[in-house]
C-alpha cells in the first residue's frame, strides 16, 4: 500500500512538473499577456467544461424523457401508486 500511495504521489508530482514546464518555464522570457498565456490552465478548463456539457446534455435528455414517459407528468401517471411508495422508501 505504501508503494501504491508513493506511486500515486509520484505521477501527480510528474504531471505538476509538466504543467509548470509548459506554462512557466517555456514562456519565462516573455512578459506580455500573449507570451504568458496559460495553455494548461485553459486546457484544464476546456476539458472540464466539455465533460460538464456532455454530462449536462445527457442529464437533460434523461430528465425530460422521464417527464414525458415514466413520470407522465403531462398526460397522467403511468403508475399512480409509485409516488407514495417512493415517499415511504425515503421516510
Amino acid at each position: 500500500m505504501v508503494f501504491y500511495a508513493i506511486f500515486r504521489l509520484f505521477y501527480n508530482a510528474l504531471l505538476s512538473y509538466i504543467y509548470i514546464y509548459i506554462d512557466i518555464v517555456i514562456p519565462q522570457n516573455d512578459t506580455g499577456p500573449d507570451g504568458n498565456r496559460k495553455y494548461v490552465l485553459i486546457a484544464i478548463a476546456i476539458y472540464s467544461t466539455l465533460q460538464l456539457f456532455v454530462k449536462g446534455m445527457l442529464a437533460v435528455y434523461h430528465h425530460f424523457k422521464w417527464v414525458l414517459t415514466d413520470c407522465r407528468c403531462l398526460t397522467g401517471m403511468k403508475y399512480p401508486g409509485r409516488p407514495d411508495l417512493v415517499r415511504t422508501l425515503w421516510r
Binding site: Y4, R8, L15, F53
Partner: protein
C-alpha cells in the same frame, strides 16, 4: 471515515467490473439501437474520464492554486513567493492526509483537522479563480472584454456554460422535485465546506487503504440494530 473508505473503494471496483462487462450485458438487454451503441458507450466513456480525472486531481488542484495566485500580479515577486508558499502548504497538507491514511485508525480521529484546512483551501481557490476570471482574464477594470481575443471569448463561453448549465440542471427539476431543488440551494455552502474532506481527505484515505476489505462501521452502531461489532 471507514464507511466512506468502503464506499469509495467499492465504487471504484464496481465501476471497473461494470466497465469490463457492460457491453455484453447491454447486447443481451432490450435497449434500442441508440441506447446500446451510442448513449451507453458515451456514458461509460464519461465515467472512465471521471475515474482518470480523480487520479490526477491533486496535481490539477496544486497547479491551479499555484497559477491563480501567481497571476494576481505576474510582475510581482511577492505574488510569486506567496504562490509558492501556499502551493507548498497544500502539498504538505495532502502529504499529511496520505501519511495519515497509511497509518490507519489512529489518524482517522484527527482527520477532521486536515479536512478543515482543505475546506479553507477550497474557499480560497474559489475566490482566487473568481478574481482571476473577472480581473485577470476578462479585464473588467482595465481593458474590458475584447471579442476578437480567442482567450477572452473562450473563457466567457466557458463561464456561461459552466454556471448557466449548472443552474439550468438544478432548475429543470423545479416542477417535479421542488423540495430537492430548495435543499440543493440551501445546502450549497455545506457542500463547498465539506468538498475538501470528500474529494481529497477521504479519497486519499481510501486509496491508502485499498487492501482493507472490511465493512467499515456497518453494524458497529446501535442505530443499525443487532450486536455492536466491527470487522
Amino acid at each position: 471515515m471507514k464507511q466512506r473508505r468502503r464506499w469509495i473503494n467499492s465504487s471504484l471496483f464496481a465501476f471497473l467490473y461494470v466497465y469490463k462487462n457492460y457491453y455484453f450485458h447491454a447486447m443481451e438487454s432490450k435497449h434500442n439501437f441508440f441506447d446500446k451503441y451510442v448513449k451507453l458507450n458515451l456514458s461509460m466513456f464519461l465515467a472512465l474520464l471521471s475515474l482518470l480525472s480523480s487520479y490526477i486531481t491533486p496535481s490539477i488542484y496544486f497547479y491551479v492554486l499555484l497559477q491563480t495566485i501567481t497571476q494576481i500580479d505576474i510582475t510581482s515577486n511577492s505574488a510569486a513567493i506567496a504562490a509558492k508558499i501556499v502551493a507548498i502548504a497544500y502539498v504538505m497538507v495532502y502529504l499529511v492526509a496520505v501519511a495519515g491514511g497509511l497509518t490507519g485508525a489512529v489518524w482517522t480521529k484527527h482527520a477532521y483537522l486536515v479536512s478543515a484546512v482543505l475546506s479553507c483551501f477550497t474557499f480560497a481557490m474559489l475566490a482566487l479563480v473568481l478574481y482571476n476570471l473577472v480581473f485577470v482574464y476578462l479585464g473588467f477594470t482595465t481593458t474590458g472584454i475584447d471579442f476578437n481575443s480567442f482567450t477572452q471569448v473562450i473563457i466567457l463561453i466557458m463561464i456561461i456554460v459552466n454556471i448557466g448549465l449548472y443552474y439550468f440542471l438544478i432548475l429543470m427539476h423545479l416542477p417535479t422535485h421542488p423540495t430537492f431543488v430548495w435543499r440543493l440551494f440551501v445546502d450549497q455552502f455545506s457542500y463547498l465546506t465539506f468538498q475538501g474532506a470528500y474529494s481529497q481527505t477521504m479519497v486519499s484515505h481510501a486509496f491508502c487503504n485499498v487492501d482493507d476489505v472490511s465493512w467499515g462501521t456497518k453494524g458497529s452502531t446501535g442505530s443499525h440494530g443487532g450486536k455492536k461489532y466491527e470487522t
